[in-house]
Symmetry: C2
Subunit: 325 residues, 2 copies
DNA sequence: TTGAAAGCGCTAACAC
DNA sequence: GTGTTAGCGCTTTCAA
């Protein structure tokens, strides 16, 4: 790989001038042209490690998510990437696998690589970000709060849970809820919405129909199996995220209870569904928009935005499978 | 962030000794201990930009895929990541979006960042990798060939197509095929398998039932719609990849033809399916294994393996929905 | 506008 | 085994 010295020699200028051409400071038109020509001829690309070392920052942002195989997060990643790449930033996608340890490793790497900032969908409610913040690098939280005074983009989880459950309660009596791990705020909030819907309908929330599981397909499967084994099983279920929805519907299908035989509402889009859209209600969560918003906030911070930390809350949209009364 | 000079001062040794402690060359136990203590106290993490600049290589590998929202590729990514992170390497996941231009950009970044190697699922059959290869960095091709003499891990595409079609031909007469873009080898090979199956069965391949589309859900949808509008529609269909399968089944469902009313075989796993496993035949492609194998080959090359380029071909596994005769 | 030169933090060759 | 030192390729003062 050619260096600026090679380019400088070929163009008959100093290395500093080459650098200036590539960084937009004023250079005479002739020299600019000569440098461009030489750079093209040598297929010169600035060495990023050197640039990063010198500048103490690189045009890379880290996006750390808990599950790269979950379409909700990949959709969000697309949003982040589109905004970032338009602004000339690259995105490094890191999969924490919901493990705080892996997450910390990636956070250290982000620092050690002098990355410009981090977008974090945290694996726990107390992620290891203080050191990153101490270096002055911005962090934006997505989907899950961090307990820090930083920018964030969240979903209206409680409201999403409430809408989904309320919708089911219009046509069903015993509406179950399967959520993610109780210690993850997202999951807890959505469950609160389910409770709220019962209260709003003047009923007691049937806690025997509430299950906290994992945000994965197998979690949805296990919980649904359990619910069906109950002496008095539910006649409808709210799935706390997309993958739980998939697992629950799989189990229902295996038991001959494919929706709408048993009512199903899912929080988040049903990924790659092959069901008719008219049989399952979905509270669509705008994942891509969450990514776009987070990326914009982060870039603004990188550009020196110093205003107080803001949290943007995005609402879900009910795509109803069943008629409102 | 602390530097090795800070650590050296605190530990009462030279910077070189600190470096040695972190790089495994011989240092006396006492000094090692002193350095470790000082490093811990200062929360020292080696600056990667500096290390990379000096070493001319970083412990990062790039994984470039055409569609980050396709579970086939994210499953592969998991395989790559598991192997790489065990070996102390980080994986940077790049989404080329099937655009050769974006792909080239990421390849340049990989070079400019001095990454150790690249795993590439190419967007075209002639990707822009010669410069990377010229720098001596290894590239391993996955899923799609590159026309270069480099290591690769491919699926037995033709065979997968043949098995899927042969299976459908056991119970059906008019077996259609919907594949990805004809100019992508993967797609063309699988279609050849479909033709082969017809020949093997002593029939002419019904080319009016062959559709080349995109490897996405909308591609599968459009092609399936077309096929159903035919004066003499098919009674079974082979989907050339997972997402085409999803799109095709969606359309069938909307037309009241949910499998098994019309026979469906899919090449690749049906992502997050909510169908009963007994209604759709799947030729499972071992995506994770492809990633694992590719990562191992790449790491071996990085470690100096100089043997001739090899291509590993992985076979698919038929998960049958319908009884063999 | 341009060039010379210092230095970002680290590693590796060399000297002891 | 350990320290000194040069230098990876770039950006950015400082002077001209």
């Amino acid at each position: 790989m050619a260096t600026i010295y090679d380019v400088a020699r070929l163009a008959g200028v100093s290395p500093a001038t080459v650098s200036r051409v590539f960084n937009g400071t004023s250079v005479s038109p002739q020299k600019t042209e000569a440098v461009r020509r030489a750079a093209a001829e040598l297929r010169f690309t600035p060495n990023r490690a050197a640039r990063t070392l010198r500048r103490q920052s690189s045009e890379v942002i880290a996006l750390i998510i808990p599950d790269i195989e979950n379409p909700y997060f990949t959709e969000m990643a697309r949003g982040v990437e589109d905004v970032a790449s338009t602004a000339g930033y690259s995105v490094v996608l890191c999969n924490s696998d919901s493990q705080t340890e892996k997450e910390s490793t990636y956070l250290r790497i982000a620092m050690a690589e002098n990355m410009s900032g981090v977008i974090l969908a945290a694996a726990s409610d107390d992620p290891d970000i203080d050191e990153v913040l101490a270096t002055g690098r911005p962090v934006v939280a997505v989907d899950r709060r961090t307990g820090r005074e930083i920018d964030g983009v969240m979903m209206a989880n409680r409201e999403a849970g409430r809408i989904a459950a309320a919708h089911m309660l219009q046509l069903h009596d015993r509406v179950a809820y399967i959520g993610g791990p109780e210690n993850i705020e997202t999951a807890a909030e959505r469950a609160q919405g389910w409770r709220q819907a019962h209260r709003d309908a003047g009923r007691a929330a049937p806690d025997e129909l509430l299950r906290f599981s994992t945000f994965r397909v197998d979690g949805g499967r296990a919980a649904m199996e359990e619910l069906l084994r109950l002496p008095e099983p539910p006649d409808a279920v709210v799935a706390g995220n997309n993958l739980i929805g998939v697992g629950a519907i799989q189990v229902l299908t295996e038991h001959g209870l494919t929706p709408p035989r048993l009512g199903v509402a899912v929080i988040g889009s049903l990924p790659f569904t092959t069901l008719s859209p008219s049989v399952v209600s979905v509270v669509r969560l705008p994942a891509r928009e969450m990514g776009v918003t987070a990326a914009r906030m982060l870039l603004a911070r990188i550009d020196g935005d110093r205003q107080q930390a803001r949290t943007v809350v995005l609402g879900g949209e009910l795509l109803s499978a069943e008629p409102a009364p």
